[in-house]
Amino acid sequence: MSMSFNLAWRLFRHEARRGELTIILLAIVLSVGAVLSLSLFSERLQGALKSRSAAFIAADAQLRSDKPIDETWFDKARDEGLSTAKQVTTRSMAFNGDEMTSVDLRAVNTTYPLKGKVNITDQPFGEKQAANLLPEPGHVWVQSRLFQTLGLAIGDAIEIGDGIFVVSKVLVDIPDAGFSIFSTDPIVLMNLDDLDKTAVTGPGSRVRYVGFFAGEPDVVENFNNWLLPQLNDDLHSWRTIEDDESAIGASVARAERYFLLASLLAIVLAAVSIAVAAQRYAQRHFDPVAIMKTLGATAKTIRKIYLIQILLITALGISIGLVIGFIGQQIVVQLVADSVDVTLDVWHWRPVIIAVATGATCALLFSLYPLLQLFSVPPLRVLRKDISASMRSKSIQFIASGGAIFFLMWMYSQDLKISAILFFSGAVLVAGLLGATFLLIAVGRRLGSGSMGPWQLAWARIKRRAMDNSVQLISFSVTIMLLLVVLVMRNDMVSQWRSQLPEGTPNYFLINITPDIKPSLDRHFKDNGITINEFYPVIRGRFVSVNGEGVNTEVSKEDDANREGRRGLGREANLTWSNVLQKENEVVEGIWHGTANANYSEGRFPVSVEAEVAKRLEIKLNDMLTFNVGSEIVETKVTSIRKVNWQTMQPNFFFVIHPEAMASFKPTFITSFHLPTEQKSELTALLKPFGSITMFDVDARINQLREIVDQVSVAVEFILVLVLLAGTLVLVAQVQASMDERRQEIAILRTLGAKGALIRQSVIFEFVIIGSVAGFMAALANELSLYMLQTSVFKMKASLHFEYWAIAPTVGAIVVGLLGAMGCWRLLTLNTSQMLRKMV
C-alpha cells in the first residue's frame, strides 16, 4: 500500500504543481462550488420566504377540524418540541343595543399567533401597530367596520351569544385572516377562555377548530407523519404554506421548484464538465500506465495508484470548491441583502452534504469508465503508440454517467417526476445530437473537399474527429439547453407572477351598493378621477337541490360525520348573473351561456358552475340546480363548468346565472377600484356620502404580496446569473480540454508552414459550426423540456419560444467560437518547437 500511496502522492503533487490536473480539479471545484453556493443560497432564501409566508397561516402548519381537536395531539406536538396554538372560529351575531350584524368570531389562546402579528389600533381606520398581547378575558378586539355597523366606540360593550364583552381595541388584521373578499363579516378576536360564555358553539352551529404548529421543518413533518393515520379526511385537513392555494403559496411553491430545478441543472452541468475532464485525464495517463506495466507493475498496483490519485484530486477539489462556493454565495447574499430578506444567522448543513456528495459521486462515477479504460492500457503501447485502451464498449460509460446523473438528481430533488423529465429530455437530446452529428459529417464531407481554406480545414477536422466532436457537440448542447431552460423558465415564471398583480390592481372593494345609489357612486368616483371597475350584481341565495334531490344546507358538527344525502355548500352562496365571461375564467366543459349558439329551454335558466365546487358537490353538466333566493325559487340547468384563477385579485363566483333568471330580483352590487397607497388619506372623504356601503381594504395585502413576488424575482435572477456563470465555466473547460487535443495537430500544421491566420480561422470556424449546431439542437430540446416542466411540474401554461430557435444557434456560435479563438490564440503563442516538445 505504501508504495502505491507514495507513487500516487508523488504523481498527484507534481501533476498538480505542473498544472496538469487543472481541468479536472477545476471541474470538481466548479461542481462543488456551484452546487454549494446555489443550494446554500436557495436554502437560506427559502427559509426566509417560508417564515414570511408562514405568517399567512400564523404557523408552519395548521390542522383544521370540524370537531374539537384531541388534546393529546397538542401534548404530543409539544413533547416533540413544537410550539402550538389554538383557534376556534365560527360565524355569529354581535349586538349593540338594537343594532346587530353577523361577525367572524375568532377565539384564540394566548400563544396565538405562532407566526406573524396581530395588528391593532386605537381608532377605527387608524395607523396599525403590532399587538404584543391578546384580548384579556371579558374583552374583545373588533375590526373598524364593526364600529361603523354597530355604531361602537372603544369601551362599549357588545353581546355575542350569551356573553357580553368590552370592546377594548380596534383590530386591524390577524395573520390568517385570508384573502376572500366574500368573507364579508368583520372579525372579532376574543380570548379562547371566553368562548364558553357565548355558548355559540352548541348543536347546529358551524364551528371550525384550528390547531397551529411551528418548529423545525423535519419535526413538523415527523409530527404530520405521526398524525396522518389518525386523521379523518371528512373532518380534518392539514395545511402548510406549500398547500396554500393563495397567490403567495403558489409563488413560493413555484419559486422553490425553480431553485430545485436550477440546482439540479447545476449538478448536471458539473457532471458534464467532470466527464469531459476525466476522459482527458485518463487519456493523458495512457503512457505512464503502459510504462509502469512494462516495468513490472501489476494491474492491482496500477488500480491502487490511480484510485488513490483520483481520491486525492477529489478531496482537494471538494475542499477548494467548498471554500469558493461559500465565499460565492456570501457575496451574492451581501449583494441582495438590501432587496431580499435572507436569513443569515442559520448554518445549513444540507447544502454542504449535497455539495460534497455531488463532487464525490461525479468525480468517482464519471471517472469510472475513463479509469477502467486506463487500467486496460496494454504494456505493448510502449512500443506501439497507436495502441490505446483495449476497452471498446461504451455502454459502461453511458450506464455509469447516466446512472450517476439520474441518481444525483433523484437523491437531491426527492422528486422522481422532475428528475425523470430532465433526464428524459436530456436522453432525447443526446440521441438527436448523435443523428445530427452524422448528418453534419455527411454534409461536411461535401463541403470539406476542394482547396484547403480555413472552412475546408474546419470541416475536414469535424469529419475526421467525428466521435470526439459528437461528444463535444453533445456536451455543448446539454450545457446550452440547461442554460436556456433556466433562462426561459425564469422569464415565463416572473412574467406570470407579475401579470397576477399588474399595476393598478384593485386594492379596495366596495360591497352592499344598492341599485339606487350605484349611478351617483359611479359619478362621484369619476369626478374624483378614480376609475371604478365593473359592477357585479350579487344576491345571496341558498343552493337547495340537484335534480330535485335536496342537499344539506347547513353543516353542523353533529351531522357532519354521519351525513346523509347530498353534500351542500353549507351556507348561503353569492349568486351573480352575467352574459360576459369574467377575466381569468375558462370554460372547461359545456358552452358559456353568453355565446350566441348557447340556447336554453324548459324554463330553466343556464348556470355556470366553478369547477372545484362542481367536483366537491358532485355537480355535472346538465344537472338541474335549484336556488332559493328570498322566498323565490330559481330553477337552473348547468350549461358550463368554469375553471377560475383564484389567484387574481377580483371577485370570483361559484355560480354565474343567466341574467334573465334574475331579472325580477333587486341585487346589491360589488365593485373594486385602485387607489395609490399614498392617497389613502382621501378615502374617508371619498366614501363619506355613501354611509351604507361597506369597504374592504386589501391594499396592505396586495403590497405584501407584491413585495414577496419582487423578492422572489430578484432571487431567481441571481440564481440565473449563478447558473449562467457555471455554464460558461463548463464551456471554457470543454474548449480547453479539446484544445489540448488539438495541440499536436496545430504543431504539425505549423511545422508544415501553415499561417497562423489559417489555423486560427479554421479552429474558430470549427467551433462556430459546432456552437451553432449545438445551439440549435439545444433550442429544440429546450422546448421539449420546458413543455414537460411547465405542464407537469410548474403547473403553468406551456408556450413555444421561437425567438430562441434563432438566438440559441447565434449565441452558441458566437460564444463557442470566441472561446475557441481564445484557446487557439494561446496555442499559437507557443512556438512550434515548444509544441512539438510537449507532444513527446
Binding site: M3, N6, L7, R10, L11, H14, E15, R18, E20, D287, P288, A290, I291, M292, K293, T294, L295, G296, A297, T298, A299, T301, P378, P379, L380, V382, L383, R384, K385, R837, K838, V840
Partner: protein, 232 residues
C-alpha cells in the same frame, strides 16, 4: 537465457488475419548481446514485444531465464518483467510528471527493493546526471533523457535488457555517448542484451545479428566484434 521455439504472431485486421511473424526459433545465451535488424515493417519490434513478455504469442514457445512466458497471463508476465527485465525505448518513455530521480526509482519501487532513492542516486551518478536528478523530462535534452532511461533500466540489475532503437531519436554525438554507456553498463552488470536497431554501428557492437525480413528470421550472423572476441 532466451529460447524461442516456432514463434508465430497473427493479428486480426479489418481485412482478415495477418501473420506478422512466420515460425521463428533461436536461442540467446546468458550474457550475450544480439541485435535484431531489418527493414521497417519486417517484424523486429513485434518480436521484441513477444520476447519481453509485452505481448502474447499466437503459437510457439518462449522461455525467459527458464520460465515459460507463453503459458503466463499478463499479471504473471508483469511480475517476471519487474524481476528480470529492463527496457530502453526509442522515445525514452519517461513518465513526464516524475523527476529524473523518481523515474529511475520507479522500477526499484515496483520491485520492492530497499532504499530505492539511494540506489537511483548512485546509478544517476554513474550515467553522469546526478546534478539533473530533480529535473523533469521536458527539462532534459534527448541524450539526457535516454541516459535517465538507461539508469532506470539498470537500477534493478535485470538479467535481460531489451532496447528498442535506443539511439533512434538522437543525433550522432549523443548516439555515440548512449551506445558506449549502454555497452559499458551491460558489460559491468553481465546483462543479456537484445536490441532492435537500424543503426549498423550499434548492431556491430553486439555479439550476433538476427536479420528479419517480412516476418521471417532470414539470417543469423556473428558480428566482427564477436569474431574478434572469439579470436582473442
Amino acid at each position: 537465457m532466451i529460447k524461442a521455439n516456432s514463434v508465430i504472431k497473427v493479428v486480426d485486421t479489418s481485412e482478415g488475419s495477418l501473420q506478422i511473424l512466420r515460425p521463428i526459433s533461436f536461442e540467446v545465451k546468458s550474457g550475450e548481446s544480439i541485435a535484431i535488424i531489418g527493414a521497417s515493417g519486417s517484424g523486429k519490434s513485434t518480436l521484441l514485444g513477444l520476447l519481453a513478455g509485452l505481448d502474447e504469442v499466437t503459437e510457439g514457445e518462449i522461455f525467459l531465464d527458464g520460465e515459460a512466458l507463453h503459458t503466463m497471463n499478463e499479471e504473471q508476465r508483469a511480475i517476471l518483467r519487474g524481476q528480470k527485465v529492463g527496457f530502453i525505448f526509442q522515445s525514452f518513455m519517461l513518465v513526464q510528471s516524475l523527476t529524473a530521480l523518481e523515474n529511475v526509482m520507479l522500477p526499484a519501487e515496483i520491485a520492492g527493493l530497499n532504499n530505492p532513492k539511494a540506489l537511483a542516486m548512485d546509478i544517476l551518478e554513474n550515467v553522469g546526471l546526478k546534478h539533473r536528478a530533480h529535473h523533469f523530462p521536458n527539462q532534459l535534452s534527448g541524450g539526457e533523457q535516454q541516459r535517465v532511461a538507461i539508469a532506470r533500466a539498470f537500477i534493478t540489475s535485470p538479467k535481460i535488457l531489451f532496447a528498442d532503437e535506443p539511439t533512434g531519436n538522437l543525433d550522432a554525438k549523443n548516439s555515440d555517448k548512449i551506445e558506449s554507456l549502454l555497452f559499458e553498463m551491460n558489460k559491468e552488470k553481465g546483462t543479456t542484451l537484445v536490441l532492435v536497431t537500424h543503426d549498423n554501428t550499434l548492431a556491430e557492437h553486439c555479439d550476433r545479428q538476427l536479420t528479419m525480413n517480412a516476418g521471417e528470421l532470414v539470417e543469423t550472423t556473428k558480428t566482427q566484434a564477436q569474431e574478434t572476441k572469439e579470436a582473442v
